[in-house]
Symmetry: C2
Subunit: 269 residues, 2 copies
């Protein structure tokens, strides 16, 4: 820790960066962004997209371990991950951490800060990560004018509630192995949606983060990985995961998840 002690540069007053990444590289309009069909702009027409684009700020990437915001920070903006990944977490008074979620490209962070106007969670980069900053008051103003944007914003928030509910099911009544299986299937689905491989990916988070997120001891996570590997469900090499028997894992997870796109046909509607 500490060779890069200027954390939180993102929330510092804007300053020119002539460093590693040139501003031109960062300035990619929503229109040209491969993630536009995943994050906010879904279903917004071309003209309106320009308006949205105008309020979005692209910043220099965060280094691994750098914070996007801290607990209690004043709420100004929500953020969309462009590349890399984040974890959000709180620290309870006795100092122990609770990981609340991981954010992949195309996903938004900070929606939980609207209510109280300050961030209840901290967000930290798990690897080199770049984000789009979306000033919330401007977004709100804009979404009053653009019907599609308002609807999309509500949809995204609703989806977040839904995902959290899904997590409650997992934490509330699944066994350790079901939790890890569900976690992996969930990640896999999210990667696939973003155009990454669904069966082969790197975990940017530590075993400890996974365990913490799933309400398990890190040792349990580790044991389960080796067990899943022995059973031929997947292969693990440190951070790299390859899912070998996705169906079996899915069954294992005891899923029914309205939230994920289920690999089997819908039985009701």
């Amino acid at each position: 820790m500490g060779f890069l002690s200027r954390e939180r540069v993102l929330s510092m007053p804007t300053r020119k960066l002539e460093s590693v990444v040139s501003l031109n590289d960062i300035r990619v309009a929503c229109k040209a962004c491969s993630l536009k069909e995943i994050c906010l702009p879904v279903g917004i027409d071309k003209d309106d997209l320009d308006h949205l684009d105008a309020i979005i700020d692209r910043k220099r990437p965060l280094a691994r371990g750098e914070h996007l915001f801290h607990v209690g920070d004043n709420f100004q903006s929500i953020y969309a991950v462009r590349s890399g990944s984040l974890k959000t977490y709180t620290t309870s008074e006795d100092g122990q951490e609770q990981v609340m979620g991981f954010q992949l490209p195309g996903e938004l962070v900070g929606l939980d800060a609207i209510a109280e106007n300050c961030h209840p969670l901290a967000a930290k980069a798990l690897e080199t990560t770049s984000v789009c900053e979306i000033p919330f008051d401007e977004l709100e103003k804009l979404s009053g004018q653009i019907g599609g944007l308002q609807h999309q914003l509500l949809r995204v928030m609703s989806q977040e509630i839904r995902d959290d509910e899904q997590n409650m099911v997992i934490l509330g009544q699944k066994s350790a192995e079901q939790r890890l299986a569900a976690f992996l299937i969930g990640l896999s689905n999210r990667f696939r949606r973003r155009g990454f491989s669904a069966n082969q990916f790197n975990l940017s988070m530590s075993r400890s983060d996974i365990g913490n997120y799933l309400g398990l001891a890190l040792e349990t996570v580790s044991r389960l990985f080796t067990r899943f590997q022995n059973e031929g469900l997947l292969s693990v090499d440190r951070k790299h995961i390859e899912l070998l028997d996705r169906d079996q894992l899915y069954t294992f997870s005891g899923a029914h998840c309205a939230a994920d796109e289920a690999p089997k046909a819908q039985t009701e509607n």
Copy 2:
């Protein structure tokens, strides 16, 4: 079961009711509602309130056990509880139920249905319960016009995300006793906000519902109630709870809950 077999009347085409409760009793405008400072109308001015009021539908109360909506029901409206209480839950394919939450007067249900346009959870009355139905497309249209309403809607959804996050902490890393203590403190806070007694209330839900919600066996819940009672923290008589040592319970819950109004001074900001 079954003397009242006409469930889901609420979602049937409107029909005149000359029965138990007269329509005049039900027709209470938002303006006159004691809950308006809790549910949606917060911070909306008098004129706009009339507009909001115009789209809200007040229905005859639900009987205990009746459903407000079922899993998979088409999403039309969100609902605000006026009196009584609801539980929301899903049923996994193996038939077991997961209770996702309890709704008290002034709280909204159905926000998680916006994303997919259908209800991921069922909502069932725990006792005689009346609700306001708020057609969502009209609400959305209105909130494009009334800035305060849009903001309030986003705030409420954000708060819901926050509460769910809080629940994840509880399910993810608290002991059985901490969970129950946190649950009781949480309920108590919610009752207080609504003008009910904070230290004395009735649980409209069964031990089994509580256990399910908290990720505990119902036997564990029962045992904890008697233990808390023996320790002088509270007194239980079947459904009736009296909190005798709220501070101790609060400490017990291992809380830090940015979500609740903490009884101690804030240490940071």
